[in-house]
């Protein structure tokens, strides 16, 4: 068993080294950027920790107590993230990779495969936990002061034990997560609803962070955030965060032996439960998977006659809705964009009002909604690529390139248009813009969306990146996505910034009402129409020839 696992790890290393050799500069740049982000976050954390440790309302609120609370939160955050990532890795690594199908016919047991995957997970989580937690906990120790060598030793021990717990919890959760995922894979609309709910949750958290930033901007001091009420809630939460508080108390040396035993007991209990579950279920699920267990039976739908364009549009909808990756990036993003826009406009509006004492909601809405529109439209950069082999099959069907491309643009237009409409409605209902402004906003953002869709589709037609994985899904964004985002943001800044510039200039120079109210809108409509026209010309010029162009996909 040991020898087999050693060989499997050797294979992993060979693959990882080979991947590292490719695109060395790109990876180096990513590493440097990552290091810069970590350094910046550490800097912010030191400031935050210093403020948090000094909060005192009662005589018992010593920096030592605050340190334990913060350590508990940090441990909880890392444990939660590790369990989430670990569960995901086990589900995809054990049940869904092509590698499992390759390895299973070899003289490698299901048990060995599981041990190898779990060991691999443990080592990666150990590395991530150590890199994240050790510096943060040590910073806390240094800031609180009075920590002896035992604090640092116990911190290292705790950091080594935490991945054991997260790995065991991930193994336990992998089975229900797999069952849920399998269930959702057969219920496309429900899956989309779950995705949208998760994204909405994400933006709710995002709004909390924005609220935090708003308070910070208004107060100007971190200390103002930590009111007595907030601190009481945080203290209560830290005391209830089992088993993370055991780790914090152990590191801090408070009842170290008792807390250490508690950690060991919890870890052993989770580990044993995971082992038991694995023994009972893993082999069975794997066998079922290899036998092609997922039989997806659909309702028998009558064959309904449609026009060619309607049929192509219907096909777009079905194939996107039923692909989890595409459904997420298309529908879920479009659904949550209005919320994202609304929150950002309100924050930007507050900022501008506090700094310049002027209200420019229309211009800000223009900037923010058109900027977020590009995020919804990044999906259109795969309009041709996501067809995969079928793009070639469609060339042999009695379809003109124009109708094929137009059906895709129309599908994206419907999704993007609905998203823009909701975003504009949100800012209008929120009282940030008048009805007239909302109408102009809608026109401009729809023109922007159309321009982005036309551009992305044609560029993808010129250089498609067809999927080569077993899921037949384009998973890596190509340079069309990067270029679209860049151009989309530039356009948003030009539109919003230009309108804002005109508006501010007019207000500061006490210009006429026309200059203040009408000129920014006229400027935005004119610019958006110009860009949309240019983009449409780019799409339609030589379209048929481009559709019939020889591709290298199958040569």
């Amino acid at each position: 068993m040991t020898e087999t696992i050693r060989i499997l790890f050797k294979k992993d290393w060979t693959l990882r080294l080979s991947a590292l050799k490719k695109g060395g500069w790109g990876k180096l740049t990513t590493a440097v950027l990552f290091a810069a982000v970590i350094a910046a976050l550490l800097y912010v954390f030191v400031d935050f920790a210093r403020a948090y440790l000094s909060v005192q309302y009662l005589s018992t609120d010593t920096p030592f107590v605050r340190q334990k609370e913060l350590m508990t939160f940090l441990t909880a955050a890392v444990l939660l993230a590790s369990v989430f990532a670990g569960t995901r890795k086990i589900v995809s690594g054990l049940f869904e990779t092509a590698e499992t199908a390759v390895l299973l016919p070899m003289p490698i047991g299901a048990r060995e495969l599981f041990v190898y995957r779990v060991l691999d997970l443990f080592l990666s989580q150990l590395l991530v936990t150590a890199v994240l937690l050790i510096p943060l906990l040590c910073i806390l120790g240094a800031l609180a002061g009075g920590m002896g060598w035992t604090f640092y030793l116990f911190t290292v021990i705790a950091v080594c034990l935490l991945p054991v717990l997260s790995t065991a919890l991930s193994s336990l959760l992998a089975f229900p997560a797999f069952a849920v995922r399998r269930f959702l894979s057969r219920h496309f609309v429900l899956r989309l609803a779950v995705y949208a709910a998760v994204l909405a949750l994400f933006f709710w958290v995002y709004s909390l962070i924005l609220g935090f930033l708003q308070t910070l901007l208004a107060g100007g001091d971190l200390q103002t955030l930590f009111t007595r009420e907030t601190m009481e809630k945080l203290s209560g939460l830290a005391a209830a965060l089992y088993p993370c508080n055991f780790y914090a108390l152990f590191c801090a040396g408070q009842d170290a032996a008792v807390n250490f035993v508690m950690i060991l007991l919890i870890t052993a209990a989770c580990g044993s439960a995971a082992l038991l579950l694995v023994q009972q279920l893993y082999g069975r699920i794997l066998k079922e998977r290899m036998e092609g267990g997922d039989v997806t039976v659909s309702k028998v739908r009558p064959m309904k006659e449609r026009g060619v364009f309607a049929s192509l549009l219907h096909k777009e909808f079905l194939t996107v809705l039923r692909n989890p990756d595409y459904a997420f990036s298309c529908f879920a993003t479009a659904l949550t964009m209005p919320l994202m826009s609304y929150l950002s406009v309100s924050l930007a509006e507050l900022l501008l009002r506090s700094r310049l004492s002027v209200s420019c909601s229309f211009e800000l809405s223009l900037l923010v909604i058109s900027a977020f529109t590009v995020l919804t439209n990044t999906f259109c950069a795969l309009n041709i690529s996501r067809e995969g082999k079928m793009f070639f099959r469609e060339k042999t069907m009695p379809l003109s390139g124009r109708i094929l491309v137009l059906s895709k643009a129309a599908f994206c237009g419907i999704v993007s248009g609905a998203s823009v409409l909701l975003a504009v409605a949100a800012v209008a209902v929120g009282g940030m813009v008048t009805v007239g402004e909302a109408f102009v906003l809608l026109i401009v953002c729809l023109l922007v969306a159309a321009a982005e869709i036309f551009f992305a589709t044609r560029r993808d037609l010129a250089r498609p990146r067809f999927p080569s994985n077993e899921r037949d899904t384009v998973t890596e964004p190509g340079d069309t996505v990067s270029l679209l985002i860049l151009l989309g943001f530039v356009l948003a800044v030009l539109l919003g910034g230009g309108a804002l510039g005109i508006s501010l200039y007019a207000r500061l120079t006490s210009a006429s009402a026309f200059m203040i109210e009408v000129l920014p809108a006229l400027f935005a409509v004119a610019l958006a129409a110009l860009v949309c026209g240019g983009s449409a010309a780019y799409l339609f010029k030589g379209l048929e020839k481009a559709c019939q162009r020889e591709e290298s996909y199958e040569e």
């Binding site: 092609g292 997922d294 039989v295 997806t296 039976v297 659909s298 309702k299 028998v300 739908r301 064959m303 309904k304 006659e305 449609r306 026009g307 060619v308 309607a310 049929s311 192509l312 219907h314 096909k315 079905l318 194939t319 039923r322 692909n323 995969g388 082999k389 079928m390 070639f392 099959r393 060339k395 042999t396 069907m397 009695p398 379809l399 003109s400 037949d472 019939q548 162009r549 020889e550 290298s552 199958e554 040569e555």
Partner: protein, 245 residues
């Protein structure tokens, strides 16, 4: 007048791939006037698939002219494409549709009426043994099942010309036999089948005529029965002799 009777006519076809110095195929002339099954034979890389891809409008070409039912594949592509049904060698389908949804989509594209598409779906599903699988997502299909849905999709509009590129790959013996028999029955209805394959035994049993391609040019265009009788060997042996000679 004579041209209008052609089901398809390839005249002087020359195709050079992007970046390649040599032509992949050149001087290809194939004319098919009526009900027959034509086999397209050749070694790997001989140019069979290139000819089929040019014929179906999949690939642009530099030399020659292709007409299908009197429609030029370059200048009147949509009309020409309505005249044939194509079974590609890569089994390309929309995997996240059910078999029935995919067939409905293809029927829409080829403008097949509501009743006709239902009847043909049932009939062809039975012929090729697709059964209840027609209402499952194609992504759950085996290779053979995918091949079957491609075969049915190519026939949903009852094309005058049925083009098959390596159609036997992945099919079980029973389905392969059913396909061969259906090809003959389809020809008997006055249609034409163009069939590219490495399976010479199947070609001998099914085709009336064979166009043999070697290094991008036509080596022979023969009546299979006469050819086999003249050589006094099976098509497979005669084919090997032809290439080694």
């Amino acid at each position: 007048m004579e041209d209008q009777q052609n089901v398809f006519a390839i005249q002087g076809l020359g195709k050079r791939y992007r970046g390649a110095s040599d032509f992949a195929v050149r001087g290809i002339d194939i004319v098919c006037r009526g009900a027959e099954i034509v086999g397209l034979l050749g070694l790997n890389g001989a140019g069979k698939s290139t000819v089929i891809k040019c014929l179906t409008g999949f690939l642009p070409f530099e030399e020659g002219r292709i007409e299908i039912c009197g429609h030029d594949i370059v200048t009147d592509a949509v009309a020409a494409k309505r005249c044939f049904g194509y079974v590609p060698d890569n089994r390309a389908v929309f995997a996240r549709m059910t078999g029935r949804e995919y067939l409905n989509f293809v029927a829409d594209v080829y403008r097949v009426g509501g009743e006709d598409r239902k009847r043909r779906t049932e009939e062809l599903s039975e012929v090729f043994g697709l059964g209840a699988k027609v209402d499952q997502l194609i992504e759950s299909y085996s290779h053979g099942m995918r091949q079957k849905i491609c075969l049915i999709a190519a026939l949903i509009h009852r094309p005058r010309l049925w083009i098959l590129d390596e159609p036997l790959t992945g099919l079980d013996p029973q389905s392969a036999k059913a396909l061969r028999e259906y090809m003959k029955a389809y020809k008997a209805e006055g249609n034409t089948v163009l069939y590219s394959s490495h399976n010479l035994d199947a070609v001998e049993k099914t085709c009336d005529r064979a166009v043999i391609i070697k290094q991008g040019t036509i080596l022979a265009n023969v009546d299979i029965k006469k050819f086999v009788a003249e050589k006094g060997k099976s098509l497979e042996e005669a084919f090997i002799d032809l290439f080694e000679g």
